[in-house]
């Protein structure tokens, strides 16, 4: 029995579904992309939308190119009669956190969490520059790959890694993705040319569209809905300073603090699903989470195999949970990130009942 005494209620991930992640989905609206995933995750539990206690989603108006974009995807949930529902303008991992808090209050026993993002209609590298300080930095349009390259170079300069090691990370993730039917990139993907030195194409995530959904349930409801629930024994998230000049880019203290509060270091971990869109960021996260060679890192292929912005973090929690559901993991850590160079990080520990 996993130790869930840290919080008032036992809460588990009992179902997970995701779309095929693809470079473009011109023929699909966001609603059309999300609806099959919602149907799949509900079908796994036999629940109907109206039986869910709380619903929470994560998405970004900036990706959609319009204000209040999430109002339309709510229509896809079928929110009638009216439902108890909320939305975070963040990766779906934080929507899951809000739902987990709601269940902790006792006001809900189940929650549907979903998130989605279509990066294909615009230039996501440019779009993400709008996350920067709007007065001093954003006007310079430093794009997300350039900022990640600063972090990668800082790691190389400090001796933490080198370009060959980064290439191995990219190759390992894409090789792992061969067993993931939803992945966008898998198998032997060439490392390619520099995008922004020292990062080559293989060090960077694919650009793509996708959606994911998770169902959470408390206590005996979870046991009824799932043969082997993935109990969330700890979950926490932390943010760091925004200005890159104020941070040591080779470290992620926010990940470490979140991991401490989530209880990562209180026992051995067999699986880690890390939201590291760039190979160099896996180096930072492994260090912050204290992961050694015994841990299976990103068996799904991670964000280097599929990076639907706003859903990639929720997918890490879903993938870790799915491994517990299948009996392939007993204690997994799932991680999600947001902001330039791992500014904001969420860490969850998922555990299955021991046989």
């Amino acid at each position: 029995m996993p130790d869930t005494t840290r919080h008032a209620r036992e809460v588990a991930v009992v179902a997970f579904a995701q779309s095929d992640h693809r470079r473009r989905t011109d023929e699909l609206s966001e609603v059309e992309m999300v609806m099959p995933v919602l149907h799949q995750v509900l079908a796994q539990t036999g629940l109907k939308a109206g039986e869910i206690g709380f619903t929470c989603s994560g998405s970004s108006d900036y990706l959609a190119g319009r204000a209040f974009s999430f109002t339309m995807t709510l229509d896809g949930v079928g929110a009638w009669p009216p439902i108890s529902e909320s939305h975070v303008e963040m990766d779906g991992a934080w929507a899951l956190y809000e739902a987990w808090v709601k269940i902790q209050t006792g006001e809900a026993d189940t929650a549907l969490v979903y998130s989605y993002g279509k990066s294909s209609p615009g230039s996501v590298r440019d779009v993400l520059t709008r996350q920067l300080d709007p007065y001093y930095v954003a006007p310079l349009w430093p794009d997300s790959v350039a900022l990640a390259a600063l972090q990668a170079q800082a790691l190389i300069d400090s001796g933490e890694t080198d370009e060959a090691a980064l290439a191995e990370i990219g190759a390992r993730n894409r090789a792992s993705a061969s067993s993931n039917p939803y992945a966008q990139l898998s198998g032997a993907v060439p490392q390619g040319d520099y995008q922004v030195a020292p990062l080559r194409t293989g060090d960077c995530p694919p650009i793509g569209d996708g959606a994911a959904a998770v169902i959470l349930a408390a206590g005996d409801v979870a046991r009824r809905l799932c043969e082997r629930p993935a109990w969330i024994t700890g979950i926490d998230h932390r943010i760091e300073a925004h200005s890159l000049g104020l941070r040591d880019l080779t470290d992620s203290p926010s990940t470490r603090i979140a991991a401490e509060h989530a209880g990562v270091f209180e026992g051995p971990v067999d699986t880690a699903e890390l939201h590291a869109p760039f190979s160099s960021q896996e180096v930072v996260l492994r260090k912050a989470l204290g992961l050694d060679g015994s841990v299976s890192v990103n068996p799904s292929g991670g964000a280097l195999a599929a990076n639907p912005v706003m859903a990639a973090g929720l997918i890490r929690i879903g993938e870790a949970a799915a491994r517990i559901h299948r009996g392939e993991s007993d204690r997994a850590v799932a991680h999600a990130t947001s902001g330039p160079c791992l500014q904001q990080n969420l860490v969850a520990v998922l555990e299955g009942d021991r046989a």
């Binding site: 919080h7 008032a8 036992e10 619903t55 970004s60 108006d61 900036y62 190119g65 319009r66 204000a67 209040f68 999430f70 109002t71 709510l74 229509d75 079928g78 929110a79 009638w80 009669p81 009216p82 439902i83 108890s84 529902e85 909320s86 939305h87 975070v88 303008e89 963040m90 934080w94 956190y97 809000e98 808090v101 709601k102 902790q104 209050t105 006792g106 006001e107 779009v127 993400l128 709008r130 996350q131 920067l132 300080d133 709007p134 007065y135 954003a138 206590g219 998230h237 932390r238 943010i239 760091e240 300073a241 925004h242 200005s243 104020l246 603090i257 947001s338 902001g339 330039p340 500014q343």
Partner: protein, 391 residues
Amino acid sequence: MSTTGKEPVAIVGIGQTKHVAARHDVSIAGLVREAAARALADAELTWADIDAVVIGKAPDFFEGVMMPELYLADALGAVGKPMLRVHTAGSVGGSTALVASNLVAARVHRTVLTLAFEKQSESNAMWGLSLPVPFQQPLLAGAGGFFAPHVRAYMRRTGAPDTVGSLVAYKDRRNALKNPYAHLHEHDITLEKVQASPMLWDPIRYSETCPSSDGACAMILTDRAGAARSPKPPAWVHGGAMRSEPTLFAGKDFVSPQAGKDCAADVYRQAGITDPRREIDAVEMYVPFSWYEPMWLENLGFAEEGEGWKLTEAGVTELDGDLPVNPSGGVLSTNPIGASGMIRFAEAALQVRGQAGEHQVPDARRAMGHAYGGGAQFFSMWLVGAEPPAS
């Protein structure tokens, strides 16, 4: 598994900026920090006392900053702490406060800073709401163009006379004169001036619409132990709920959405309210266009269907009436969109703390904060009291 129930949640600090059309003197970070610092000062706490930050605002297009919580982490003392960003359209200010309240109620954190803001002067909200989207009904000219037909439907359905909307606007603008933080201070306001103002979206006149404001509102929420240390009387959360329904479908009642009715019913159930008209002393209601006061009076159960306008016409909702609605001057006087819902929630709390100054409703013991958003599809509400909740 523990079943000890929820931790009671207290509001011990409230801070607002003076809302104005354009705060050219501060950045977005400066604006939010001002409200947060005032809330901390009100609670006599410091940044170090805050365990987590929950921030809300309306669409990122309103300022042109994507996920501004990332940039605002430093300004809100959130570095090293958890920071959540809520976005539920116009209801976001209320939803944000409820998410923060849940963190305390669930005993995940003990003391939480929650804040909502909009700095509308950095962009153009009308444009931000009117981006063309394929295969979807256009919002036409901002929110007014969307809501005017529903006001007209209300008038037809209830037989309300044309004058009711102007009465609401005249009342709220006069109430705003008593609120130092309100944006519009129209010292020469008269009912005739409201009625003579230009027609914008028939039947909505210029003086019956909300302004575009820069502003922020912050609250400090804490647990029972935190409330015991509070230097000023806390307000206590007696009930809070969110409800959503789809934007567009054949069965939707835009005049009185089911989600609003269900949300209010849930809040009253939690708070043990059976007769809201008698048991609630003040209401801070999200009224961006004046006609929404009579509409929401019905939707929230303060009046029978078709009767809301009669309460307004009889002066029941005046500051010295039987059921004061928007003693602060409301959204009609102050509308930093993302913050507007939280201002409603905070003003309700100010009333039961007895801290509302010149617009204080005498001996207000229970007050309601209300917000709505999207195509009148998202609702968030809370009911606060001067006494701790019974259980």
